[in-house]
């Protein structure tokens, strides 16, 4: 017993020294302890102890804390926006398909298999068709203007990234093509112009300029135009990251490929790009995270993504004055997505570092 206490004491000693090694440090610890305790207590009281968990505005009358009733009442809006009630099973089945396609990535054994990635990409058109509908298949059409909430956020992010990635790779290859000055110049202009603009402006211009550039007969709606703007913006950002990777591949690799008789595209596809992309994988995931966050900017062009529906709920007559609860909920969802992505990336990076050092 006494011995156990002594071991515990010895274990705690570094902690005690770190917290109160010097009088100044002890004071700092005390200050932080009090401040953190106070903040946690206040947050607990607001979010849990004194909060309302009903479903009606009346349930919030008497409480001093948060009114989570607005979330309980509005959650379908947050998930799918204005997608018609009787068609929502399609969204649910789409979610099942997407989760099934994403499952292999959770298993380390399957993660590196190229078929898994290709299959996941291949499900995207099918899922979009399921969501949009087709009279031939007996599914009533639900136009993108009805899509909203988390559904719209995920569609914008996933479709946007899937299309932007090849665009970015092409632009990066064009920019690094030494023997094609015309192509390189065009790529530099396009990349630098798009990258100097903020995403909101690109979205705004996409929705305002595209109707002027394109024939008036094309059926364009805001969601499609915003998606195109998003792809262009993300593509330019990807291009710069991929270019960094391309520059990191030793020239000897290209020379070796030439010595083997490989043509340009074969060299790029088999030799250069795999190495380049592996080099910049953390940066790629970082920019995917920033595009997931950036997708919330479609609010500025009048779309109701996850953030848009939160503002819609707060503007509802029934729930007027309750903007903080929807904002915090939506913020927490975005946070969970982005935090998970960055953690996964960090783990891959660690695993790879271990593998490469192990190989040596």
């Amino acid at each position: 017993m006494v011995a156990g206490l002594a071991t515990a004491g010895r274990r705690l000693r570094p902690l005690v020294r770190a917290l109160a090694g010097t009088p100044g440090n002890a004071l700092l610890s005390l200050l932080f302890f009090v401040a953190i305790g106070w903040a946690v207590l206040r947050l607990w009281r607001w979010a849990v102890a004194e909060a309302a968990f009903g479903t009606t505005p009346e349930s919030c009358r008497a409480v001093a804390g948060a009114c989570w009733s607005v979330i309980a009442d509005m959650w379908p809006l947050f998930l799918v926006g204005l997608y018609p009630m009787e068609e929502r099973w399609r969204v649910a089945s789409a979610a099942v398909v997407v989760l099934a396609a994403a499952l292999p990535f959770a298993l380390p054994a399957l993660r590196r298999a190229r078929p898994a990635a290709l299959a996941a990409v291949a499900t995207i058109p099918g899922v979009l068709l399921l969501l949009y509908g087709s009279p031939a298949l007996g599914l009533p059409v639900v136009g993108p203007e009805k899509w909203g909430g988390l559904l719209l956020t995920l569609v914008l992010a996933v479709v946007g990234q899937t299309l932007a990635f090849p665009l970015g790779v092409l632009l990066a290859l064009a920019r690094t093509a030494r023997e094609l000055p015309v192509v390189r110049f065009a790529a530099v202009c396009a990349i630098e112009a798009v990258r100097s603009l903020p995403l909101v402006l690109v979205l705004l211009l996409a929705t305002l300029i595209m109707p002027v550039f394109l024939p008036a007969t094309l059926p364009l709606n805001t969601m499609v135009m915003a998606q195109i703007g998003f792809v262009i913006f993300s593509g330019a950002a990807f291009a710069e990251i991929v270019r960094g990777g391309l520059q990191g591949v030793p020239p000897a690799q290209v020379e070796a490929a030439a010595a083997l008789g490989l043509r340009y595209w074969a060299t790029m596809r088999l030799i250069v790009l795999p190495q380049a992309l592996r080099l910049v994988q953390p940066a790629l995931v970082g920019s995917i995270v920033s595009f997931v966050k950036g997708s919330s900017l479609v609010v500025a062009v009048g779309l109701y993504d996850l953030l848009g529906t939160a503002m819609l709920a707060a503007a509802n007559d029934k729930w007027v004055g309750h903007s903080i609860e929807p904002l915090i909920t939506v913020g927490a969802v975005f946070w969970a997505i982005c935090f998970t992505l960055s953690r996964i990336s960090a783990r891959w990076e660690r695993e790879r570092a271990m593998r490469t050092t192990g190989a040596r």
Binding site: V200, I209, P211, L297, L307, M311, I328
Partner: protein, 448 residues
């Protein structure tokens, strides 16, 4: 050289690599031109159908909308030349500072800065363009200039505040005290992973707009007031002698900077800046004793339905500034942390062996080296902050993007506004990176 001439009669023309590359590029260029021409034709058709003219003539037309926030600008309506001239002058200033700073040291750079401010002030007195605020009967160009001023106003202060906060948090991320370290880590992980727009909405709709109304304002010591229309603060009002006072202060600052440049050219920028600022402030304070009509404090007062007098931090400006600062500070903290982590352990040991204490080690040994690693990513972070200020459009802060949208709605001149916005943002990017590249070059010299 002679290899081409002596090349054996090889494969046919289309097998020649250079010919094929040239043909491919010509095809690419033709396709590009064709697409551009098609887009141009469609655009011309569409514009004609909507009766929208082409060209920048609309800029001098009456705007017809009002802006929620404006700074008085020395841009008298229609006098585009003066506005353009001041932009050119600013670019020249930046170029001159960049070119001369290396030779003259920090004192020289600040002397040039002070001299330029003095010259601008005197020129301003001589030309007397007058400062005017935007109004709906002013031109679109005036609206765009006001929007640019608003963007610069929020981005400049945001950069300063985010840097200070980011450095504190970045250093705290590596603190020995687990409570301090943990708090900093939680801060970074929360603020970095929530979209900036949600944070701006939070500060705007859930905090600043829910403050009490004008009648129930929170009174701060009788000199300031906080309510849902903004934070009302006292303001310095220039009197008749204000320009003279500022001129005296600038002249003193100029003298101090010249003194440093001549006598202590290797003094650090920070210390030179402190000396220059202190002498300028002392001269202004001394001058104020002689000239009583310099500056007066004007307090905000409740008149009718709102406060008047003093200055106001609007909820829109406040929310955008808070959001930008707290969000960017999380990124800057990570940059600072990796910069600090990038300085070798041996440096700390060596500093300890020399008898420096922890604070001295950080200030004299670690930070200067960490800065060298941190400056390039910091530059791109500042650029992001400047671009992110465009989120003002979502809460009605009239910066460049929201005014661009407003002008396009009013006139339909989308393509012209795209060109203008592109020029403005490229100019801002070049400006920010020019200043920081200059700084980057400086710290490199002083270290190598």
């Amino acid at each position: 050289m002679s290899a081409t001439a002596e090349r054996p009669p090889g494969p046919r023309l289309w097998r020649n690599r250079r010919v094929r590359l040239a043909v491919f590029q010509a095809g690419f260029a033709i396709a590009l031109v064709a697409v551009a021409w098609l887009a141009y034709r469609t655009t011309a058709d569409n514009l004609a159908r909507r009766r929208i003219g082409v060209g920048f003539g609309f800029l001098s037309r009456e705007a017809g909308f009002s802006l929620g926030e404006m700074l008085p600008l020395p841009v008298p309506d229609g006098r585009f030349g003066l506005f353009a001239l001041s932009l050119v002058a600013a670019a020249l200033v930046a170029a001159a500072l960049k070119g001369l700073a290396g030779r003259l040291g920090s004192g020289g750079a600040l002397a040039i800065g002070a001299a330029l401010c003095l010259a601008v002030l005197l020129a301003n007195r001589a030309l007397n363009p007058g400062f005017e605020s935007f109004a709906p009967d002013r031109s679109f160009l005036f609206a765009i200039a006001t929007a640019l001023a608003n963007t610069v106003k929020v981005a400049a202060l945001g950069i300063v505040l985010a840097t200070v906060l980011g450095f504190l948090i970045g250093i705290a991320r590596l603190a020995a005290n687990p409570l301090v370290r943990g708090t900093a880590t939680v801060y970074v992980e929360i603020f970095r992973n929530v979209p900036l727009l949600i944070q701006v909405f939070f500060w705007y709709f859930a905090v600043l707009r829910t403050l009490p109304g004008v009648r129930a304002s929170i009174d701060v010591l009788g000199i300031a007031a906080i309510n849902n229309r903004g934070i009302f603060l006292p303001r310095l009002v220039p009197g008749d002698a204000a320009a003279t006072l500022v001129a005296i202060g600038l002249a003193a600052a100029l003298l101090a900077a010249l003194f440093v440049a001549l006598r202590a050219p290797r003094l650090s920028l920070l210390r030179t800046g402190a000396i220059v600022l202190a002498s300028g402030a002392a001269a202004v304070a001394g001058g104020a004793l002689v000239l009583p009509d310099g500056f007066a404090l004007e307090y905000p007062r409740l008149t009718g339905f709102n406060f008047s007098g003093g200055m106001v931090i609007t909820p829109e400006y406040g929310a955008l500034l808070l959001g930008l600062t707290l969000y960017t500070a999380a990124y800057i903290a990570e940059i600072v942390r990796s910069g600090l982590a990038g300085v070798g352990r041996g440096q700390t040991d060596a500093a300890e062996a020399l008898g420096l204490d922890r604070a001295q080690t950080l200030r004299l040994v670690i930070l200067p080296q960490a800065l060298r690693i941190a400056v390039p990513p910091l530059i791109s972070q500042y650029l992001s902050l400047t671009k992110d200020s465009s989120l003002g459009i979502a809460i009605g802060y009239p910066e460049i993007v929201s005014v661009t949208g407003q002008v396009i709605n009013q006139t339909g001149q989308a393509i012209e506004m795209l060109v203008i916005a592109l020029l403005i943002y490229m100019g801002l990017s070049l400006g920010v990176s020019a200043v920081l590249n200059w700084y980057n070059a400086r710290i490199r010299w002083s270290l190598v």
